[in-house]
């Protein structure tokens, strides 16, 4: 029998853990940048439509798949999907639900460790007195494993290991005593910190503390709709992509958490509550901090330039710590602690979720106890994560993020939506969604889940596979289809890197690019090996079940 007898302590705890799983760094760093780059206020229209016709259906699909698998004692996607159809291959599709989490945790925990480190640097006054370039240089020095202001040798590795130990220890405490307890503390604190910073973002006045714009300039820049962009497939693709990242669908974590829900309990209302909580954090808090504060002090042109060069991550780590100190030393330190503290809570509630499918798999299939299973997760993430720390400048981090954190989500979500609506069957699927429901699920969703969601996912996948150059879909249709470097096909071919290599003349740049090409390919091989290893474990587990007559 499985050693896995865990359950959630309370309904609110489950919802906060699910919301914490969804709320991540992307809510604060990715969403506002996506909005700025894709039509400002007009972006919110496709974004909310994608939430209604793709996000909510996927939440209901994943919650009900998880609870269904949990009835048979399964708590990870390979055997959860295996309960839904006789075809033996489905369980190997379910491998995505473990692999994605291990691979994403490997770089995500490193990112999380930056936020932890920056909390201490904000407390210690590291950024006090530094100008904008000084703060930016600190970041470069940090990720290059340079000299630490705390005097800790290899400080990023130190914080990475601390962060991993913390995650592993919490996971080893169990679902109710570990994950749920952290969510109950972390989520309210995150919302309080976010509301304080959003208040500051809303009340910047030009001429005060060095601000050059009122808050309204940044908020208008973010929210003024550019309706010309509304018909661009690129904008819709970006909106659909953002819904994926923000809800953590297509990962396997929701299935895992939901598999611990009792078979007669509601999932329809729980999914809505957790999903809308994530939307609140993203649309209300996430949109009110990064961009309004940055534009208040740097102006629109300055921020657009920074966003194009550094993205949301750069803006959050290289610029905001400097801007906070415009409010004075004390408030600057407090705001820094709150900003990186909320990012840390957003990160840890997500990374904890990433550990649970692997732990559930080992408990269910190999009778491991929770503690050793949790420590095995920590060890795997340490081994897989070290390349992202040591070879950050060679793009290993980005490579993990692209394949595990982006492409894999779409692929798995596409498969699971087809499995649920067409293979498992929509009638049975609908019964699963509505069974024990504490709200009336609108009947229109039967049609949406069966037709709209899989088609939209297929379009997102194909659109990402063959993205036309410059996102010019109309031009590509009339003038021949030239692939953009961001398309999956050109990514596989390393087109961008090879072009840069062909154009480079400086020997140092050529060497850097050649090293990058090597590490990019090595990262992919490593990720494939991990996937195949998990698939092999699933095969062994299946044979074990057959031998024991449990399948």
């Amino acid at each position: 029998m499985s050693a896995n007898k865990e359950s959630w302590g309370s309904r609110v705890g489950l919802i906060l853990a699910m919301a914490g799983n969804a709320v991540g760094l992307g809510n604060f760093l990715r969403f506002p940048v996506q909005a700025v780059q894709n039509g400002g206020g007009a972006f919110i229209i496709p974004y909310l439509i994608c939430f209604l016709v793709m996000g909510i259906p996927l939440l209901w699909i994943e919650w009900s798949m998880g609870r269904f698998g949990g009835k048979f004692g399964h708590h990870s996607t390979p055997f959860i999907v295996d309960t839904m159809h006789k075809n033996r291959l489905w369980k190997y599709i379910g491998v995505f639900g473990i692999w994605t989490n291990i691979a994403v945790a490997s770089y995500y925990c490193y990112l999380e460790s930056w936020t932890l480190s920056y909390v201490f640097h904000s407390l210690g006054g590291t950024f006090s007195g530094l100008d904008q370039i000084g703060v930016s240089n600190f970041f470069d020095e940090y990720v290059s494993l340079g000299e630490s202001t705390f005097g800790i040798p290899y400080e990023p590795i130190f914080f990475f290991v601390i962060c991993l130990l913390l995650n592993t220890w919490i996971l080893s405490q169990g679902l109710a005593k570990g994950v749920e307890r952290v969510a109950k503390i972390g989520m309210p604190l995150l919302i309080v910190f976010g509301m304080f910073l959003a208040y500051k973002g809303f009340t910047i006045t030009a001429g005060e503390n060095g601000a050059i714009n009122d808050s309204s300039v940044g908020l208008n820049f973010l929210w003024t709709p550019n309706f010309d962009e509304l018909w661009s497939p690129t904008v819709w693709l970006a909106a659909a992509g953002q819904i994926f990242f923000t809800l953590s669908v297509g990962m396997g974590t929701i299935h895992c958490y939901a598999s611990y829900v009792r078979s007669k309990d509601d999932i329809a209302l729980n999914a809505m509550s957790a999903g809308w909580m994530n939307e609140f954090v993203e649309v209300v808090l996430g949109a009110s901090i990064l961009i309004p504060i940055s534009i208040g002090y740097l102006g629109i042109d300055g921020v657009v330039d920074l966003v194009n060069k550094q993205g949301g991550l750069g803006l959050g780590f290289r610029t905001l710590p400097y801007l906070f100190y415009q409010w004075g030393d004390v408030l600057g330190a407090v705001a820094g602690v709150m900003w990186f503290g909320l990012l840390f809570f957003a990160g840890i509630t997500s990374s904890l979720a990433m550990g649970t499918p692997w732990i559930g798999f080992l408990q269910d299939e190999f009778n491991w106890r929770r503690r050793p299973a949790a420590w095995s997760f920590g060890l795997i993430v340490l081994v897989l994560g070290m390349p992202t720390v040591l070879f950050f400048k060679y793009g290993v981090f980005d490579e993990y993020d692209y394949w595990a954190g982006t492409v894999s989500l779409v692929v798995f979500a596409l498969f699971e939506s087809i499995l649920f609506a067409w293979v498992f069957g929509m009638n049975k699927g609908w019964r699963e969604i509505t069974s024990g429901a504490d709200i009336k699920v609108p009947g229109i969703y039967k049609f949406i889940i069966k037709f709209v969601t899989p088609l939209l996912l297929l379009w997102v996948f194909i659109g990402s596979l063959i993205t036309p150059k410059g996102g010019d879909w109309a031009g590509a249709l009339s003038n021949g289809w030239e692939l953009d470097d961001s398309s999956i096909i050109n990514k596989i071919k390393n087109s961008n890197l090879k072009r840069q290599l062909a154009e480079a003349t400086d020997p140092a740049v050529i060497e850097q690019l050649q090293d990058t090409l090597f590490f990019v390919n090595a990262s992919r091989i490593l990720l494939v090996v991990v996937f195949l290893s998990i698939a092999a474990l699933v095969y062994i587990a299946y044979k074990k079940r057959v031998r024991e007559g449990r399948i």
Binding site: V12, S273, W276, V284, I551
Partner: protein, 45 residues
């Protein structure tokens, strides 16, 4: 901007309120409550 923020905040508040105010389901205590015969890998309905 404000209408979007109010819509999202309102939806979050409404669903969370429903969660807090829905009485918990009683533990199944009879055979009838537990007699669902769900079949693993059942053929398509």
């Amino acid at each position: 901007m404000l209408s979007t923020m109010l819509l999202v905040t309102g939806a979050m508040g409404y669903f969370f309120y429903r969660v807090l105010n829905t009485p918990p389901k009683p533990e199944p205590d009879s055979f009838l409550d537990n007699d669902d015969e769900i079949e693993r890998q059942a053929p398509r309905a």
